[in-house]
Each structure stands twice: as C-alpha cells, then as structure tokens.
Symmetry: C2
Subunit: 524 residues, 2 copies
C-alpha cells in the first residue's frame, strides 16, 4: 500500500480525459495539489518503554518488532480522504510507535498480555484500508501504541467441502484468500471496493459488504465461527450454523473493530467458483423506478449476484465505469445486474429477473456497461488520488434504511450536503447509488466532490457532520458497511441507545479490562 | 393452556390405535398414570412484601395483579416433560408469588423499576411453552417472584407494506399475530410446533425456528428491530435492515431469554400470504441419502418452504403423521417437501427441486404424506400427554452442526441415549428428524420414548445428561431452537467459552444490576 495514496505504489492512474473535463466544468481551473516527499515526513518520538519492547521481541522474535520510520509511516491511519490529506501534508502525528508482526494466534495472545502488563495500546492492523478512522488510537495515559500487523496470519487453515466452509487466517488479504480458495475450486465471493488490499479479519471486524452482496450476502452473514485472541486467552465463538444457545456472540465480535479482542481466524461459508458470469445494464426512467425494481426482485426472492443502481447524477457522469467518466446525455438511471454460477443457474436466474424487470418497464441496455463496471470496480479509489492531485476533494459516505424511508433519507442527505457545502460557498457534486439490497430495505452510497479549499480537512468536517446529522434525523444507520471507527462515534450513542452503549462498555471492560485494545475507536 | 398438560384444555387427544399398539409392542402392558386433581394442588405461601404488591398495583392497576391460586398454578414452569410430570404429581414448588399483567411497554418499565426497588424477581411470561425451564427463577435472596404476563401487549402496532415489515407486540400468540397480519394479506410464516400457544416475544427471546424455516428463515433472521423494557428505561434496538454500526445488538437481545430486559415489541419481516401450498413426500433409501439431498438443495440455493427428513425409525412409525402412527414396512426414509407462494413461484420452485431430487435418486411418494404432516403438525404435543397417560415417558431434544459432522453427531446422541437408558434397564425408542437446514449444516431433532419408571423425572435426568454430554463432545450446539433456560445451562459455558460467559455476565450486570430478571436462567 502506498504511504499517502490508495493501493499499489506502482499503479498510477491519470485522470481520464472525460473526468478531467468534467471537473474543469464543475469546479473551474485545475489547481494541482502538492504532497510532501516521503523523506520529509517527521514522526513523533517512539514512546514505548524499552522493557515493553523487549517483552514483545521475546514473543514474536526481534525481527518482527519494528520502529523503522517507514514501517511506522505505512501503519499510520487508514485511507479516508482526510487521512490521505493529512499524509500528503506530512502530518504523521498519529503514527504508532512500534509495528509488531505476530506469527499466529498464540503470539497475538502473548502480545496482548505483554501490552496489558505494560499498558501499551494495541491497534489491530489488517490491510490498513479503514475509511472511518478505525486505525487511530487514543494514547490517553497509556505508555505507547503498537500497530499489530496480522500479515503473517496468512494461511488457509481448513476447507470443509461437504459443509462448504473454509477457515481463513485474519491477515490474508482478499486476493490472497481467493487464490488459496481457488486451489479447491471455491470462492468467498466477497468483493468490497477495498478487496485488493483489505483483510479477512478486517472484513469481520467491520461488517464489510461487497459488490456481490445480493448473491453472496454480507460478510457477517457468511461467518460461521471466529477465533478471537484476548488478553484472557483464545476465544472460540460459534459452534453450529445456527443455534438457540443464548445471544449470538459471533454478532458481538463482528463489528467490534478490534476493541474486544483480535480476530485471528474466521470460518466462512464458501461457494463453488462460478463457471459463468454475466453483467448487464438496465435503464430506468428514474432512481425511484429503479429502486422499486430492486425491491420487487429481492422481495420476490430473486437475487442476482450483483445489483447496483446509480442515481441520475451518477448515471449522467458514468461513475460506474471510471475509465469513461464524463457527461452523458442518455438520461434516466443505470442499473448493473450481474449473474454468477453454473451456466444453467445463470440462465434460469437471468430469465426470471429479465421477465420481472421488463414487466416493470426497465430497458435492457446490454452487456457493455456491466462489463465495464466489473472490470473497473476496484479502480475508483485510485481515481480519488488523481482527483486530489488536481485539487478536487472527493469523499464517500453511506447509510441504509427501510425501503419506505429510502427516498426521504436520500433527499435529506443530498440537501444536507448541498447546504453545508453551500455555506462554504462551494457547489458540490453529489452522486449516489444503491448497491446492497435486503427484503426490508437498502443502502445508499454517496460520493461527494468539491473544489478543495486551503484546508481540505477543515472543509470536509462540516459537510460530514451535516450528512451524519441528516442520516440520524432521517432514521438511517450511520454506516451500512464502512464501520464506526472514530469518525462515526458521534452518532453511535443515538443509534444504539444508552442501554446499547452500556452493553458495549460492559463487554469491553470484561474482555479488555486494561483498555488497551484500539482505545478511542467504536465505543462511545 | 391446560395447567398440567399441553394446549387447549378442551382439546383431548386419545392415543390413536396404531400408537397404542406400537407402545404395547415396544414397552409391554399399559400402565395408566395418575395425575392429581387441580383442587388438590398445594402452593407455597405468597412471599412478595405488601409494599411491593401495592407498588405493582399502582402501576398496572389492582385488577392486573393476581395472587389467585389458579393464576399462580397456570404460570408455573413450562411444558417440558419433567414440567408436566411435576404438575401431574401436584408439585408446584416453583409457582410465582404474583401474576402481573402490564398494559404496555411503559408499564413493563414501571414494573421492572418497582421490582428492582423491592428486589423482586421478574419472570417474563408469553405463552408459557418453554421446554427448557426458562420460566423457573432462582428465588435466591430476592423477596419474591413475579410472573410478568405479557398477554395485554396484543396489538399489531404497524404494518409497512413497502418494506414488508410489521411491528408486533410481544404478548401476541402465534395465531393472534397471524390473524392480525392476515387482515393486510401478509404472514410471518413462523410455525414452530408450539405455534398455537407461543408468543412473539418468546419467539424472539428464545431464537425460535419454525417448520417453514427453509423458506421463511429462523425467527431471529426475520427480526429488523426490537423494543426492550429495562429497569433503566426503554431500549430501541435496530435502525436498518443491515448496519456496520458496531456489534449487532439485536443479536444480543435475541436469545437473551428475559435476562437482560423484557422484549415488548418486535419488528419482523413479513410476506404476502401464499396463494398456493403444496406439501409432498419423497422416499430415500437411507437417512444419509436424504440428508445429502437436503444439503444439495440448500447449497444450490433451492429452498423449498418446508424440508423435513425422518430417520429410519421415525419413518417406520410414521411420526410425521401423528394420527397414523404405527409400524410401517415401506422401508427407507420419508422427506416432507413443501412449497408456498404464488402458483407460478410454487410451480417454478417445485420443478427445480423435483429435478434435483429425482436426479439424486429420490422417489416422489405423492401428496398424501405431506398433507397429513401439514394438518397434524401441531398435534404432537397433545400426543405426548396421551402417551404420558399410558405410562410412556416421551421427551425431545435437539442440536445442530455442520453437514460434515451430522452423521457422527447423530450416532453419538443415539448411542448415548441408548446407553443411558440401558443402564436403567430400559430400552428406549429413539426417533430423529432433520427439519432446519442451512448452507453449512442442519439441525437434528430427537424424540425419545421409554416406559416410565416410578420417578419419571429421575429417570429422564441421566438420559438428558448423557445426550447433552454427547452433543458437546461431538461438537454440536446444545440447542438449535429450544433455548437454554435452566436445563441447558450446564453445557453453555463450554459452548461459548470463558470470554463468552464473561461477556454475558457483564451485559447482565449493566442492564439488570439488581439481578431481578429471570435469575438462574441462561447465564452460567
């Protein structure tokens, strides 16, 4: 991962001409934005006491405890736009003091015990792709901060081809996990936009949801069991696919964002690798019509593998195909509908879905748009860097609600963003899509672009605040799949209520009595 | 509900001739079993202090606080076989002191506050159908026990026909809820065997699963949100169909069995009432073949509404049709396969499923067995009373595991039951079926019958202990849908681990600091 940009450092994306022209049209002249050089970055002094460092080295081996500047820089924060802006500005005030790489779950338990004994904060680190401040710990009165990098937990532990489950270690990144599963002809089918760099443990800790969620489900829906390292020892959660043995404690670990323990492996449901994949696009007269079509499908148990609907603005600039962004005048909105499976299954599902969508007035627009979406779907984050280079601040935010409340929530969030940006004298571009559907409701994913002012972070903060308040007031969840981290904490207490906060704090106190695990993240 | 038997007091089921003959064959001569008369029952002295009674009467009205013998008797324990045996023997030592009937959620909060202030235990009471001791509180050093009967919380609060959700108050019994929903053309589709007498709140508090779980899902899967009364106030849990806003706290309330708070209403996903229902039976050469067929269906996303497979013994005595129990010599095993929905959907699903099952060697045996199952499916508990009347002790127990472990778990439980009964010199009849399937595994539901000895409860205890130990040792969950109550507590700590126990205790302490809510139930 690049230290101040998204993704592979060797992968550079120039802004496509269409996007360039669109930005010029929307925001006026280009203002190239500078970024400090890596060797100019100043780091705070490493504070971890020597005896704690020695204890950690004794557990994981001295070669796996690093205080090198490069390691500390690469483990600083995540990849939200404010994170990227801070990195570009050379602000590494949130750098961890040490990076520790345990080899397995037992070493993670050992690290947690040593850190508890020495009162050192521990930030579990998978792929470093958090966009909500999930990797920034409160130092408080602790003696330092360790970034616990799980990259050495990279094994496929077990495959059960009868039960169609696999146990994966938490440090495996998406592509590594898929490569190991592919040797058995199986797939997890979990493709969030962060897929190329995010980890299995992170998917679980943040309740990730991927592009194929209508077919494969959310990540939390796929989890059968978890192994969690705590300072008190190893915790095995989940004994059966379903149970009535009290509260489902898997669901307490999922979404816990490293605050209760460190997930070291995850047993997930898998599927046979699809032998056929078809992605096609449909046009609808309006976002509302497209949303009704999605609702009709899912409430009739027709679940294409991929379902994604862009609103009018997102359709007009063709965001679903980053290589071809520009201004389109086709009108209406675009839906991507993808089918994966055996040829027979794809044919059957496609035929059923096509009947319903045609009956609802949708117009099949062919395979080109769908294939373009499929091939470009991981490139949007690179595009964000290219836009930042040209002085355009781009950030995303997301929520979910019931179908009956979707339109009101959409309007409320768009208005709030426009008003907050307008109060700064800037005119934002606000795009939206629905990409995760349920029988009872759906997600809304907003992309916001504004001309960056002198202080982009200060500019974004009131827009984010207004959007979050609008989500709360309109009854949406503060996050559908990005997690809470530090950025969504201001809204969490309202969402889960005082008893919910009390429950989370009680569990935290029980499992992490020293308060070393990701302090400041998640728990209000 | 009858005070010492299952169900409607006016509904009496004589043992069908076939069952009678079978029992005579299996266990020898009939030995009619006595039951004390209702007016001979002795109750312990009502212990709740007068000031607590007055405080409760002030909240719910004096007409809704009862210490009448009949009310106390009817709210004693649940409907496990040991519960029925105790009632028949006139043992009402676990009777609550008072029965309190609040009108709404606010009154429930008031009752909890008053009981916390006066240190009175509260046992939430829905339909009284627990088969795991979920209604028996530890008196400990508390000043008395209140049975909190939720029958007045009987409203359909809201229907959202766009999002296809409904909010139901917790005290509604299954048929009441379905009648209210039917006025809107919708159904919950949740039909556990206790359906006729169990409550919405109980379904949620115990993670119930119904006969149609392959089509409609488990109850916990249907829940979008819950309102929970706690001594600290009202807790609203669940804001969206799916969220990444931390741990899923709905899943902490579901299965909490009244120990964290009292569920007062539940928002659930609903469906249009099916216009067509087809139930048919298939024959397989063996239980293993049938299980493989079920697994193939569910792993290929083919989910008939009902899927139920009897093992060889259950098939031989035709348990799936209680009116026709007897000895059959057809051989093999029977599967019930049910389809519900629109005629088009039923036709499509049935055609797809029939293709797969035929391809796997199943033999379609027609509609008769399926219809018989559907019409008789709520009568088995009545049959248990008829068997108890003839001196045959019948009880059930259930578990779930992965598909790859299913056969080993089945063998282990059957052997454990046979050995434990054999040690008492009795030869049990052990029947089993699979009635809840998942992509990764399935449930096993055992019915055990033995000739009742002088002390039926003492006779059952070691059999239950052996079965529970076998389930634990073979890797099953101690309960798939009956819940924990008091009866499964001995195995829970092993299943959820020390950190899991610590988490439950911490939440309990945070939400119920006085420890008045169902003390002795669930939490190890």
């Amino acid at each position: 991962m690049h230290w101040s940009r998204w993704g592979d450092p060797d992968h550079t994306t120039a802004l496509p001409d269409g996007a360039h022209d669109l930005m010029a049209l929307a925001f006026g002249e280009i203002r190239p934005r500078e970024s400090v050089a890596l060797d100019a970055v100043q780091l705070p002094t490493d504070e971890v006491p020597a005896d704690a460092r020695a204890a950690l080295a004794a557990i994981v081996g001295p070669g796996h405890v690093s205080q090198a500047d490069s390691d500390r820089i690469h483990h600083t924060r995540g990849k939200s736009t404010p994170d990227l802006l801070a990195a570009r500005d050379g602000d590494f005030g949130d750098a961890p003091d040490l990076v520790v790489e345990p080899a397995d779950g037992d070493e993670v338990v050992g690290v947690l015990r040593a850190c508890a004994a020495h009162r050192v904060a521990v930030v579990p680190y998978g792929g470093g792709t958090s966009v909500v401040g999930g990797l920034v710990a409160d130092r408080g009165d602790l003696t330092g901060i360790v970034s616990l990098d799980l990259r050495r937990l990279d094994r496929l532990v077990e495959v059960d081809e009868v039960s169609m489950t696999a146990t994966l270690q938490a440090g495996l990144l998406g592509p590594q996990a898929e490569a190991l599963l592919a040797e058995h002809g199986i797939t997890l089918g979990h493709y969030p936009q962060s897929f190329e760099f995010a980890s299995i443990g992170g998917f679980a800790a943040t309740r990730s949801s991927g592009h194929s969620s209508s077919g494969y489900g959310r990540f939390d829906d796929m989890v059968i069991g978890l192994t969690v390292a705590t300072a008190g020892g190893t915790w095995q959660v989940g004994r059966a696919p379903a149970s009535a043995a009290g509260p489902d404690l898997r669901q307490l670990v999922l979404g816990s964002e490293g605050t209760f323990g460190v997930i070291t492996d995850v047993t997930v449901m898998v599927r046979r690798i699809p032998t056929e994949r078809v992605y096609e696009t449909w046009r609808w007269a309006s976002f509302a019509d497209g949303a009704t079509a999605m609702r009709t499908l899912v409430q009739d148990d027709l679940n294409p593998t991929v379902l994604r609907l862009s609103d009018e603005t997102e359709t007009a600039i063709n965001l679903s195909d980053p290589s071809a962004i520009g201004i389109s005048d086709a009108g209406g909105v675009q839906m991507v509908c993808g089918y994966e499976g055996t040829p027979a299954r794809v044919a059957r599902m496609r035929s059923e879905v096509t009947d319903v969508l045609t009956g609802l007035g949708g117009e099949l627009a062919g395979a080109q748009g769908g294939e373009a979406w499929a091939s470009g779907r991981f490139s949007a984050p690179y595009l964000r860097d290219a836009l930042l280079d040209e002085g355009v601040l781009v950030e995303t935010l997301e929520t979910a609600t019931s179908w009956s409340n979707l339109s009101a929530l959409y309007d409320a969030v768009k208005s709030a963003i426009a008003d907050a940006a307008g109060a700064q004298g800037v005119d934002p571009l606000v795009l939206c899509h629905i990409s995760h559907v349920y029988r009872a409701g759906a997600s809304l994913y907003f992309t916001v672009a504004v001309r960056e002012a002198d202080d982009g972070a200060a500019q974004w903060a009131p827009i984010k605040q207004a959007a979050g308040d609008a989500i709360r007031d309109a009854g949406g969840t503060i996050t559908h799949h990005h997690a809470v981290g530090r950025d969504h904490k201001p809204w969490l207490a309202d969402e889960i209520g005082a008893p919910g906060v009390a429950a989370l704090r009680a569990v935290k106190q029980a499992l992490d009595p020293e308060g070393i695990l990701n302090p400041g993240v998640l728990i209000p």
